[in-house]
Amino acid sequence: MTVPALCAKAVSKRFGRINALDDVDFVLEKGEVHALLGVNGAGKSTFIKILSGVYIKDKGVIEVDGREIDCHNPKDAIRCGIATVQQHPELVADFTGYENIFLGRESARAGFLSGIDRSVLKRRGDELLSRFPVEIDLSRRIEDMSAVEREIIAILQAIGGDHIRILILDEPTSTLTEVEKEVLFRLMNTLRASGISILYITHRLEEVMEIADRFSVFRGGRMISTMTPQQVRDKNLSLAELMLGETLGAVFPDKADPAQLGELVLDVRNLRHQRLFSNVSFQLRRGEILGVFGLVGSGIDELSKVLYGALATDAGSVELNGRKVSPKSPAEALKAGIFLVPGDRRVEGLALQQSSIFNITLANLGRASSFAGFLKRSANRRESEEFAARVALSPANVTMPVSGFSGGNQQKIVVAKGLFADADVYIFVEPTVGVDIGARAKLYGLMRELAMTSGVIVMSTDCDEAHGISDRAFALYKGRQVVPADGVFTRNELLMAGIIGDATHA
């Protein structure tokens, strides 16, 4: 029996209270293409980061060619023969392909004064191309190259060291077209034929069926199973069935009663921002929570900022309470009655060294001060305490700096700020990132409470969240809105809509 290229035994990793990886066993055979599947947070990214030396495992053993390795940084991993191409590879835009491939190891006799010998770079680059034939002109500059050419450059750079036996690709196809994908797959086949094992992350089952020898499914930090494409065909399994486990269920409050919905509060038509999203249309009623699911880069963050006036509207219209609005700044959006709970609360939501009172009142200083501009200090304190109690802030101290609160409680302060701002529409972006499960349930409850009197939009890269909290939902896939053909999306349909742009595969 041959020794596998890579073997992981009982690998675990914790981040604080979160079990990112739990006792993962994994085998990568020599010369195989092995896909990793799983929703965001399933543990596949953590796993490849441990293999590539970015994270250090807490427990477990990793063997390469039967020998145990101990990687503490990416250089260690490369020395052990494991090369990684990140999801968005960092290349130097105005260098040529040759220069990028050998960046940092231009010359064997590297010295401070030894210049870059272009002819040597070219000869070595051409050697590499003759070993792994792929159609690409390495003398062009990166900024003139297409997405797939950049990916190829990044792969050639990664395997430039002759001893590389394992190549890890993090979502290499996420930005590629169908035609480009075939080019990448041909290179992957060539690499496989030369004996290199490839481990790659993807969200698309049809790719797995096309290119992978085997695949493994991650869910909730555990490796659930390893299968072959043949088994999927035989059992007629769907990607959603493979990727999703049990729902969180009880965390989410009850849905709204459709009969109880109020009047139309927000009517968005054909909204566009540059190339990041276009033709986004939806309506929102008082009493309703609308979910928007999209992966990182799908445009959900930009959509929230266009609605909030922080990014320009390039086309389309927004009507709030029947009146056309086009906020040019968050100040105008707030005045119109839109409040954003931003995705990165520490950067976009809070002044960390200031108190809760300061933060809660900041988005509505008109309410917080008399007409001459003097702050109503006792009233502000009293109201801040009331809101702090309403969002169950813990500790219930409104004068200490907000940097002293946990992530979940900081998010509650941002919600309290929204309550003080008294908006008609609340937009939540990634509301529970870094928030523990107890605070999550409270935050979901607060969203439902807000929806009693306002319209609420929840945008998330977590499909369960976007589906679980909302009364209905749509997906953004690479800037394209995917809506249910009739009625509402099921959770599986929403997931497929968001990760492959087509709900009918569910």
């Binding site: 700044s329 100040a331 976009e348 809070l350 300061f358 001459a372």
Partner: protein, 334 residues
Amino acid sequence: MPKHGIVPAGTVRFLAFAALVFIIGAAFTAVEPRFLSTQNISAVTRHMAANGLAALGLTLVVIVRKFDLSFAGTACFSAMTIGFMIAGGHDLWLCIMAGVLAAAIVGAFNGIAISYFGLPDIVTTIATGSIAGGLAFLYSQGRTIFRNFVTSGILDLNDARLFGYSASFFFLIALYAVAWVFMHRTRYGASFHATGENPVSAYFSGVPTRAYTMMAFIICAITSVFAVVLILAESGTADTNKGATLLMPAYAGVFLGAALLGGTSVLATLAGTLLITMLLDGFSLLGVPYYYSDGVVSAILLTGVVLFDARVRQLFSDLASFIQPVTSASEKRS
């Protein structure tokens, strides 16, 4: 933040500041008893008024996390503007308003360039400061202006007394009181603080952060004119170098105060200005040449910046906590 038993950290810092004032005062008095004379205390309060007024506007610029290196040049420009107007026989208040206007234009230029066009603050203000300093020469081709100064009434500003002390000192205290109320009790002060602490979250909270950044530069330029008026009143002449001496004391006041009281604020700047003025005045009383005393003040400014820097303070507190267990362990052994 270190815990000091039941005494709040702010009180500890204030006591430390008071002790420092006492020590500096006692040291100078020991060497030169005239330090405590009425005449000298009067001089200290007068100089403190000029330094403190210059530092007040700068405090706002530092609160919005920017630097203004132009205001020495701006002050020279407004000094010569005022001198030129006085020489022209205009009403004193009109002359001062002209100086304020000249400075405000430079300040507005700084503010617009930095907040609306995103130019780097340090480079921009060095450039505008040089331009303003150059403009100062245009009124008289660089010659000192003193015509009409005696009859204009500006000298009376220097001689005005209240309860036996320079009236300018009371003006300083009054303006700082107004500034404190503005910064800590109004929505505008809250917006300045929000802009400085986290401009992104401030913008997302609807604060017009660019307008506030611009206003900080304008206010900075204007308060430097107040300081210039006091300097003109004291010397009785206007020359192209009249504002240049304000730069170091003002920065030293802001940063030393911030280091002492734990953050940039109106009160911290007042405290820093008091210390700096005592030092400068004490040295000049002892007959130390200005090039030494400027060196000392600059060294103190540097110390203030180092102490104000959070990373450096963290380093010191790490060092302290590292030493603490070692000493308690050695105590156990003995």
